[in-house]
């Protein structure tokens, strides 16, 4: 077999890879490091992706997601300014609340999907690693005169995800128990000032903790010392988000897909629809009104063969209707799962499809998303 490590040999020829504040810790933990979005990141640890994934579903997993972009928009009316670049309601976002949204293009495509949180003195953004330079250039070009845009490259981002995450984090920061899904607070943890969000990319309850690089390793070590916590790499992060039906930029969404096709129209508020003043509004609102021609759906291939990204999808009419955009094995599902785009007429749950895997037809069915129910914490149990 060629290159079982699965690393892209071309990556070696490019610029030297950046390292996060947790690089030494990853090596010490025995991580398999791979190039990802310009960083050397842990794809897995010695237990392997499946065990790491299942640990996040049953206890708590710690992920280094410091490669993601963290940025601050401050000065003037940052929320009003950002609304000129996104279709979501940012002005209505109360301080201490976070929202999922996207930067859209004038043609109605998705430039990036982002998390936006409001603070008293501006907005915090979390951007995809591979898109952060593009995003910041776009934001600075369009909003530079009105707001101050700053990348926070000196901050790490640590995700603690799983049903035990809140109990673990509450030992050093009791107030996190009071936080609800998509709430953010500034909290001192072990003497370090952290911006804590009750959010994540796994479908589980959990937190993302933004902390200055200088304090990141100490925090990660303290969390890993708790009996419920195990490290998890980008491999498990990908299988967890796929089971949770969450989009991965550059795969499930890109500049060619609209929020409506991607089944993300829920991120566009009534007020913004009425105002119709965001980039790509004509296409996006047209698709909301008339329905898009294609839709992102969940797909369950029959049997055990995974259907990877790029796999052709044959519709009930017998011709190709789309392609898989994310696909693999779901450890909690216990079998292959995928997401992809199909013609709107074939997007109904239960529609029979065929996938072309290595030249052979594999029967499959459209299924609802997520594959594994979200377990976000929305209030007192």
């Amino acid at each position: 077999m060629p290159n079982p490590a699965g690393t892209d040999p071309r990556a070696r020829d490019e610029a030297p890879l950046a390292r996060t504040a947790l690089y030494d810790l990853h090596r010490e933990l025995g991580a398999k490091m791979v190039p990802f979005a310009g960083f050397e990141m842990p794809v897995s640890y010695p237990p392997g992706i499946i065990k790491e994934h299942l640990h996040a579903r049953s206890a708590a997993a710690l992920f280094d997601v410091s490669h993601m972009g963290q940025a601050r928009l401050a000065g003037g009316d940052a929320a009003g300014a950002l609304e000129t670049l996104v279709p979501g309601d940012i002005c209505g976002l109360a301080p201490g609340r976070m929202r999922y949204n996207m930067l859209t293009t004038e043609a109605g495509g998705i430039l990036d999907d982002i998390m936006v949180s409001a603070a008293d003195d501006g907005l915090m953004l979390v951007l995809n690693a591979a898109r952060k330079r593009v995003d910041i250039a776009h934001i600075a070009e369009r909003l530079g005169a009105a707001v101050e845009v700053a990348m926070l490259d000196d901050r790490a981002l640590i995700a603690l995800q799983g049903p035990e995450a809140a109990a673990v984090l509450a030992r050093s920061a009791p107030e996190v128990k009071e936080m609800r899904f998509l709430e953010t607070r500034t909290i001192d943890i072990g003497g370090a000032r952290c911006l804590v969000s009750r959010a994540g990319y796994t479908g589980e309850d959990g937190f993302e903790i933004s902390i200055a690089n200088a304090g990141a390793e100490a925090l990660a070590r303290a969390l890993l010392a708790e009996p419920e916590v195990a490290p998890a790499g980008l491999g498990a992060r990908d299988t967890l988000r796929l089971e949770a039906g969450l989009c991965l930029y550059g795969h499930d969404i890109d500049e060619g897909t609209s929020p409506v096709e991607a089944d993300l129209a829920w991120t566009i508020s009534k007020r913004r629809r009425a105002e119709a003043n965001f980039p790509g509004a004509q296409r996006i609102l047209g698709e909301i009104a008339a329905g898009p021609t294609r839709r992102r759906v969940g797909i369950r291939p029959r049997g055990r063969a995974p259907a990877r990204e790029g796999t052709a999808i044959i519709g009930p009419s017998g011709s190709q209707t789309g392609a898989v955009t994310s696909g693999g094995f779901g450890p909690s599902v216990g079998g292959p799962i995928a997401m992809g785009y199909v013609a709107a007429a074939f997007a109904e749950v239960g529609t029979e499809l065929k996938l072309i895997v290595r030249g052979r037809e594999v029967p499959a069915q459209v299924c609802g998303l997520p594959f594994v129910e979200h377990r976000y914490f929305r209030g007192q149990p």
Partner: protein, 125 residues
């Protein structure tokens, strides 16, 4: 039982009498991580060295497995269909892929022995 020989593409082969057993190396298994699916060839198929013979899929990706030498597939490890994790547990034993007949011993002897293969994979890291 004779010793294992290895290809630079991380397959192993072991000849016992008229039958050769083929699998992927312990190193390949470690690099792949959790194996979740294996596609095996039809028995009776004749293969040339380097032919695509099987596919092994980890959580991360699908990889081709090549025929290490020429021969005819006479048996496949059917247990891998239900328990592909056997490849992680015992890559160079119970996680074998196929058995072949008609193998030329000289072709096998030309492959790396265990020491040469270990030196080879150390050079890859």
């Amino acid at each position: 039982m004779s010793e294992l020989r290895y290809t630079s593409e991380h397959e192993w082969i072991r000849v016992d009498g008229d039958i050769a057993t083929v699998g992927i190396s312990q190193y390949a298994q470690e690099q792949l991580g959790d194996v979740v699916y294996v596609e095996l060839p039809e028995t009776g198929r004749k293969v040339a060295p380097g032919d695509d013979m099987a596919v092994v899929e980890s959580v991360k990706a699908a990889s081709e497995v090549y025929a290490p030498v020429a021969g005819e597939i006479v048996e496949v490890n059917a247990a891998l269909a239900e328990t592909p994790e056997k490849i992680n547990q015992d890559a160079e034993g119970g996680g074998w892929f196929v058995k072949m007949s008609g193998v030329d011993q000289a072709e096998v002897d030309a492959l790396m022995d265990g020491d040469a293969y270990r030196a080879y994979v150390e050079g890859l890291d």
